[in-house]
């Protein structure tokens, strides 16, 4: 489970972000809504262990991020946290399938080609296995980036504005896909967005 306690962060010392405490059980979803500039990306980077909070603590499955060395934190993040970004990004010189395999390699998971293929088929990219990221449409890219986040069965999926650049149909599809994938591995899902379209889809939400 994920537990945060009185997190605060500042970039320049004068302006301080304070974030509400979050507690999430396995399989639970949370929508975090907020306008631009309110620190949404900061929060998600703290939850991912990419930024160190000035105050407070983050704990995932009993591991406090503060207790980990930077190298172990990298590995911990790789193993337990999947991230989806507003604009999908890949290693551009590798095919979609190789991107998934690389992600498994970097998080020291077994490079299970069969599972990666299955996952891509499941999200409707079965015919794009060997395509380079550039060759995919935006909707396809966003789906592929979700595959990239969930391939290693993370305990926590963090999505940063995953739908804001998509049209209504694709927005719906991506939201469903995220929920499905989280449910299938019993992961906790946190979506941080200003996209009000998502509000109706999640029963648990907080506003910054």
């Amino acid at each position: 489970m994920l537990k945060t306690q009185s997190i605060a962060f500042t970039y320049d010392g004068s302006h301080q972000f304070r974030f509400p405490d979050i507690q999430l059980q396995k399989g639970e979803n949370l929508l975090v809504l907020g306008e631009s500039g309110i620190g949404k990306t900061t929060l998600i980077q703290i939850l991912a262990g990419l930024l160190h909070p000035m105050q407070g603590s983050v704990e995932l499955n009993g591991t406090n991020f503060q207790d980990l060395s930077s190298k172990n934190l990298d590995l911990f993040r790789g193993k337990h946290i999947g991230m989806v970004f507003q604009r999908p990004h890949f290693v551009r010189n590798l095919s979609i399938l190789d991107n998934l395999l690389l992600s498994l390699y970097l998080s020291k998971n077994k490079q299970d080609k069969k599972r990666a293929t299955q996952l891509l088929e499941q999200i409707g990219l079965g015919d794009k296995l060997d395509s380079k990221p550039d060759q995919l449409s935006q909707g396809e890219q966003q789906r592929a980036s979700i595959a990239l986040a969930v391939i290693k069965n993370p305990d926590l999926i963090l999505a940063d504005e995953p739908t804001s650049s998509l049209d209504d149909t694709n927005c719906q599809k991506i939201a469903n896909l995220l929920k499905e994938q989280a449910a299938s591995t019993n992961a906790q899902l946190i979506i941080i967005t200003h996209d009000q379209r998502l509000k109706s889809q999640f029963n648990k939400s907080i506003t910054l």
Binding site: D74, R77, G78, M83, N93, L94, D98, L102, S103, L106
Partner: protein
């Protein structure tokens, strides 16, 4: 999929800049390697022919010319020397053995050299067919000379006067081919060898054409010849290295002859050639440095484009060192492959050159394996590759993930 494969993919996904980097490195290393190989080959060839000759005695003139003309047969001789004078030298206690050389005639541009069987032993040449000469006007032909002139045992030919083609033909005497030598990749391959008397006979006859028919007179003529006989040069081997210190100076100071030590002259010549080689090497090193620069620019540019990608890999669990390895590998792969191609290309060039210029000249098999000086090319290019990757590597190590991710 792993880091090694990924750096490989990155290289082949940017063929243009990869080819440019490789090309520059290949060019730099190739030129250096070619110069080293040629230097090595020339030195080996020069040293090989000088083996067993401690001193050359000939007429006064340029010592280098004396060596070039008598040891390598690529220049005109300095003149003739009287056999009488030379005979004194043979008796010197420091002299182990001597070989006389007389020449001045050619056959189709190939020198006809009057000497003794010891000359063939000096080159450790062996007979391919036939036998060694046993009397005047019998010749043993070097492999190249035989091949190009299509000479076989039993053939006869006339020599022509002078060391360049087109001299007056000595058509009163013809040489008989009695033996052909094996190819031994040295000057002897291009020579036609006979005894000293053959040369005397042809030239003695030449000057007194009308006396030939009278057998009595002929005999007289021969003894007269012994007395005033001339040879072109004498190759000398010393009993001990002490000879080097004393004999050449003694000959030069007390006689009308000139003594030259091949080893000294060759070192002088190599020193002169070395200057040119040094200049070419400097140019090649500059090309290698430019190739390092191009590796740096190519890595730097591709990193700028791939910053987000690297941050993403960190998010997926990659450690700093894994990313460092990725960038470093790309730089090192370029420099190592460039070096490898350079070394291979220099050999192909050498092969092509030896093939087109002279079908009979074969480079020693040794040149096709790595020579010692070339081993230095690998650490040097590795160092250039490392240096070129240094700044991109440091940038990669210090990449600020949150900032990169939020700026895209």
């Amino acid at each position: 999929m792993n880091i090694r494969q990924l750096s490989w993919r990155n290289l082949i996904s940017n063929p243009l800049s990869t080819i440019l980097c490789l090309l520059l490195m290949t060019l730099g290393v190739g030129i250096i390697s070619l110069v080293l190989l040629l230097n090595n080959e020339v030195e080996q060839q020069l040293q090989k022919n000088v083996k067993g000759i401690d001193m050359v005695v000939g007429a006064k003139g340029s010592p280098l010319q004396l060596i070039l003309s008598t040891v390598y047969h690529i220049d005109n001789p300095t003149g003739n020397i009287p056999l009488k004078e030379v005979a004194k030298l043979k008796k010197n206690s420091m002299v182990k053995s001597t070989i006389p050389l007389s020449f001045g005639d050619t056959y189709n541009g190939f020198r006809i050299v009057g000497t003794t069987h010891a000359y063939i032993e000096l080159f450790q040449a062996s007979l391919k067919e036939g036998e060694l000469w046993s009397q005047a006007l019998e010749v043993v032909v070097g492999s190249t000379a035989a091949q190009i002139n299509d000479l076989k045992v039993g053939d006869t030919f006339h020599g022509s006067h002078g060391l360049i083609e087109g001299g007056v033909v000595h058509d009163q005497f013809s040489y008989n081919v009695v033996g052909i030598l094996d190819h031994c990749n040295s000057t002897i391959d291009k020579l036609i060898l006979s005894n000293t008397e053959s040369i005397w006979k042809v030239h003695g006859h030449d000057s007194d054409d009308h006396e030939c028919s009278d057998p009595d007179h002929h005999h007289e003529h021969d003894s007269h010849q012994e007395e005033n006989a001339m040879i072109t040069a004498l190759l000398v081997k010393f009993k001990s290295p002490m000879g080097f210190l004393q004999l050449p100076r003694k000959v030069n100071e007390t006689t009308n002859l000139q003594a030259a030590v091949p080893r000294f002259e060759i070192n002088r010549l190599i020193g002169l050639l070395g200057f040119g080689a040094q200049t070419i090497k400097m140019i090649a090193i500059i090309i290698m440095v430019v190739s390092g620069l191009s590796i740096f620019i190519s890595l730097f540019n591709s990193l700028k484009k791939r910053r987000y990608e690297l941050a993403l890999m960190r998010v997926h669990g990659a450690s700093r060192w894994q990313l460092v390895k990725l960038v470093l590998l790309e730089g090192l792969l370029l420099s190592v492959f460039g070096t490898l191609f350079g070394v291979i290309i220099s050999r192909l060039t050498l092969f092509a050159v030896s093939f087109f210029i002279d079908a009979n000249y074969s480079f020693d098999a040794l040149s096709f394996s790595l020579i010692n000086e070339e081993l230095w090319l690998f650490p040097i290019s590795l160092f250039i590759g490392l240096l070129a990757s240094l700044i991109p590597t440091i940038q990669t190590y210090n990449i600020n993930i949150p900032k990169t991710l939020s700026n895209e």
